[in-house]
């Protein structure tokens, strides 16, 4: 094994083998995720706003528009997290299937509720302002301008982890916080029956 001939032949092979080993090790370890920046958060909300504008200008029927709003929540919103946050302490005893069903029902309910509001945005336009990092979240500020009305702010809260939005604050009023109160009251009215609430939300 020590003769020069043998070494000369085997060195490249060994080197190749080592290289191959390193390469496969590299492939096996998950690549470190690229950091999600403030610009990425802004990019996400730019897409959300472009889609909202498209819906408003589409001239589709109201029912079709509401369906499109649902899709915005699906594509850019962290639906499971939004569901979990809205349910809050009431969701602790829920099963995984119930949580999923609630998040899905809430998505339909909220996109219809807010979709009806956004329909009033005809003639207005939305601008993106500053982006601010707070803890593990980005706040993307948007300003909606209507002719003859004071402009108002909508802040989207984007999660660094899921890279989707988890809340919307309209002039300081958080969707999560207000819906948490609303859903809590609805649940109380149904004697704490989550399944009944889920069924009702889908129809609202």
């Amino acid at each position: 094994m020590n003769d020069p001939f043998h070494r000369a032949i085997h060195r490249p092979t060994r080197r190749l083998m080592l290289a191959g080993l390193a390469a496969s090790a590299l492939l096996a370890t998950p690549l470190p995720a690229l950091a999600f920046s403030g610009d990425d958060a802004r990019g996400l909300i730019e897409k959300v706003i472009a889609d909202i504008q498209k819906i408003i200008d589409s001239g589709k029927s109201d029912a079709a528009k509401l369906k499109d709003f649902e899709r915005i929540f699906e594509r850019y919103g962290d639906v499971p997290v939004i569901g979990q946050l809205v349910l809050g302490a009431d969701g602790r005893s829920a099963s995984a299937a119930q949580k999923r069903a609630f998040a899905e029902a809430f998505k339909i309910y909220i996109s219809h509720k807010y979709g009806r509001r956004f329909r009033e945005f005809i003639g207005g336009h939305i601008e993106i302002g500053k982006v601010r990092k707070v803890k593990r979240f980005y706040e993307v500020t948007t300003t909606t301008v209507f002719k003859g009305q004071a402009p108002f702010e909508v802040i989207y809260v984007v999660s660094e982890k899921s890279r989707k939005f988890i809340d919307m604050k309209i002039e300081g009023i958080s969707l999560i916080k207000s819906e948490r109160a609303e859903i809590g009251a609805m649940l109380d009215k149904r004697g704490g029956n989550l399944d009944r609430l889920i069924a009702d939300l889908r129809k609202m």
């Binding site: 979990q84 809050g88 500020t141 003859g148 982890k161 809340d167 300081g172 958080s174």
Partner: protein
Amino acid sequence: MTLSQQIRFAAALLALALVSACAGANRPPPEGINDPNEVANRKVHEFNKAFDSAFFGPASNAYGKGVPAPVRARVQDFAANISLPSLIVNQLLQARLDDAGHNFSRLLLNTTLGIGGLFDVASDVGLEERTTDFGETLHVWGLGEGNYVVMPFFGPSTSRDAVGTVVDFFTNPLTYTLPGGRRYVPTAAGIVARFGDRYTYASTIDDLMYNSEDPYTTMRLFYLDSRRYELSGGESGDDLYDIYEEAYE
């Protein structure tokens, strides 16, 4: 008071404002709900709701349907313009001289080119209204919001902002200086504009007052959060971030 006494009094007040203005602004917004008089507040809330469904809502609807939109817009613009002196007084008391100057330019432009305030030409050149009130002045002076209060007719407020609402009946110099019956014009215009607002935002207001599960709680949350956001210049409390973090525990 003679004129020179009045001027000296105003100067003293302004100096006081400049000193105390540094105390209150830029504090973190308060959190939580402070509503020790909920039972009484709920009674006033029910009264306001009854007043709205019996009179204010239907009357606003009649006004909105009966008066053409362009005419209503002139009323809104006129009322907003004639209330500007009150905003300017408050902004001087808050030592926010740039806002006061901004609104003063707006007043000049709309009163002249805008034909006595009937047309809001100032907004078109970037001089949009910068609103304020005496409740904000008290905030800037360092007064905390106090308890949640539901005022008859005016609706959601706080101890501090309720005082502000009452004081603001007296902060418009035009109500002292206009001759004869005209001194009532700013107040009257303000009331008519309220009907216009009720009509314009009917669906939002109806949703809030009649279609939500517990309108009292919802209105309390909406008022406190939006008011705190407004006074803090666009900050929200940390409590919200505690809620968000729950999802990632």
